[in-house]
Assembly symmetry: C2
Homo-oligomer: 334 residues x 2
């Protein structure tokens, strides 16, 4: 910057004014400075200014998701990015892989980088350790999973009700023996979905104890194996509810492998690419991850703009899309 000032024959502060488009700089001076900068290939150092600036905003937000490679997270990421881009804000995204140890490390990393806001999916049961950070002024917005031990804006899918809808849909098609296949039981979403599902079954007079329930399925392979074992068992269910996208895919594989895709009903939570092109099409509860990302980013910016209202809980509805697999009726009427 000194070089630019020297070349343009002006003071440092004037160069700063030009680049920050502050008023009260003559057109001629602006011209000279821009010219000099161009010649020297100069660019403002965004972070240096932040040290002194009072609002202390680095125009950076951090995003912590399951994995940037997961379609759900990727869509959230894009939603956040699109809103952030409109505010000249860059996004650090980091994958958590549902590892509680990573959680602390990554959050700490992000805070060291002084992100203005943190949009995060958490794994740990309790987020109270973030209260101090929140009080210091870092904006926190939770996505996909509600936090505990801390009050902050949260954007989630309507897990409980949607899962109930899936259960009722299967019940309406005559199923009585429906299995639940879910993600890590410690996750908030997994709990909500399971309880929404079980509650709806209970309302129909089906005891939760009798519902085959398998949890802690982290990937396709594990899900396929678990579903396979279930299908091969003596008490084979007539319908499956898979509460996460990778689990759904695993279930599809297991069903195909046994040529049962036309006999066992399946409803998956979270839409899956090409689900409508399969035979049968896969009935899903479609979430709107892009929208979730957008809303979370909007909340973050609202807070940064000074919104001091009560923390909000935004619930994004997810709708059941019947495509065939969820409308299969049980072979032998129970």
């Amino acid at each position: 910057m000194r070089d630019v000032a020297a070349l343009a024959g002006v003071g440092l502060k004037t160069v700063s004014r030009v680049f920050n488009e502050e008023p009260n700089v003559s057109a001629a001076t602006v011209e000279r400075v821009r010219d000099a900068a161009q010649r020297l290939d100069y660019r403002l150092n965004l972070y240096a200014g932040d040290l002194k600036r009072t609002d202390r905003r680095a125009r950076t937000i951090g995003l912590i998701v399951g994995s940037v490679a997961n379609p759900f997270s990727a869509a959230v990421n894009r939603g956040v990015e699109d809103v952030a881009a409109g505010r000249s804000t860059a996004v650090f995204a980091s994958s958590l892989d549902e590892d509680p140890n990573q959680e602390t490390r990554i959050i700490s990393e992000m805070l060291g980088r002084r992100v203005d806001a943190l949009i995060l999916t958490t794994v740990k049961r309790n987020q109270s350790h973030l209260v101090k950070e929140q009080e210091r002024g870092t904006v926190l917005v939770f996505v996909d999973r509600a936090p505990s031990g801390i009050a902050a804006d949260t954007v989630v899918t309507d897990n409980f009700n949607a899962s109930g809808t899936a259960a009722r849909h299967l019940l309406a098609h005559g199923h009585r023996r429906i299995a639940y296949l879910g993600d890590d039981a410690q996750l908030w979403t997994a709990q909500e979905r399971k309880s929404g599902f079980h509650t709806a079954l209970a309302d129909a007079g089906i005891d939760a104890a009798g519902v085959p329930t398998i949890q802690d399925l982290h990937d396709e392979r594990a899900a396929a194996d678990a579903v396979g074992a279930l299908l091969d068992s003596a008490e084979r269910p007539t319908a499956l509810f898979t509460a996460q996208n990778l689990v759904t895919i695993g279930a599809i594989r297991a069903l195909r492998q046994r040529s049962l895709q036309h006999e066992i009903a399946l409803i998956g939570f979270d839409d899956v690419s090409l689900a409508d092109m399969l035979e049968p099409g896969i009935t899903v509860l479609a979430q709107d991850p892009y929208r979730i990302g957008q809303l979370a980013a909007e909340r973050a910016f609202a807070r940064l703009d000074g919104d001091r209202s009560e923390p909000q809980l935004l619930v994004v509805p997810s709708g059941l899309i019947p495509r065939g697999s969820g409308e299969i009726r049980p072979k032998t009427a129970s």
Copy 2:
């Protein structure tokens, strides 16, 4: 930091030493400082130090891809992230949407944030404007598409040969009238794929002029419409080669809609989720985007570590996975 130093009763520099784990600090002092920091909830400001530090590394890299929501880009992103995490480096990812105007803006944004390295997918025909930045010390690594007008490490898929493989595969199954459906013709990848494909056909005595070739298909919808029109035309091809993942999906839809999925052969470039579960399974040239991301990040760090060798061109092989759709034979022998 002043507060911590005061509370611990030591000098500023000592606090700095503790947090940077520099040698020659007594255990007792370390203890006191860490204690004070804990109590004050203090954290190093990563960027402040960078101003003075000589190596001037912000431990940040920028990644520019088509869209973080596209499965290909998302996998690249994850590959980059995993390598970066091992080096305590954060990743800024930004979506380009194949918009040349965005390209300049985003790159400029990233450079203003002083990223140590930039891993980028470019849209513009020429990248010579980046030479100045490169000379200044910013590491550039191109992914997916080779740059022109600049020499830098580049990691790409073996587009030309793989496309030729697809062509030969279809020829071997008796096809003579094969259509090419591609992405934006201006893109380097699109050009490579098209020319690899056409060259292989030419080698078999099929004139490129007679090959139905449709380009500039940016999304599923456009691809489905284009494929539909082609299928409805008088000169319906017996096989399709779709040179990008969204185009492949569009083609699948168009074929299904006309119940032609068992009659018209299809090979797609880039694997697609659930492709093996469809009827028929979709034969694809599977890329390894995760690997591409990894390699790109490794090159970037190698350069940051001082590697001054000639720019490398790394070609990641992509293999043909036969799943059914590519092995369909033409109905009427030509």
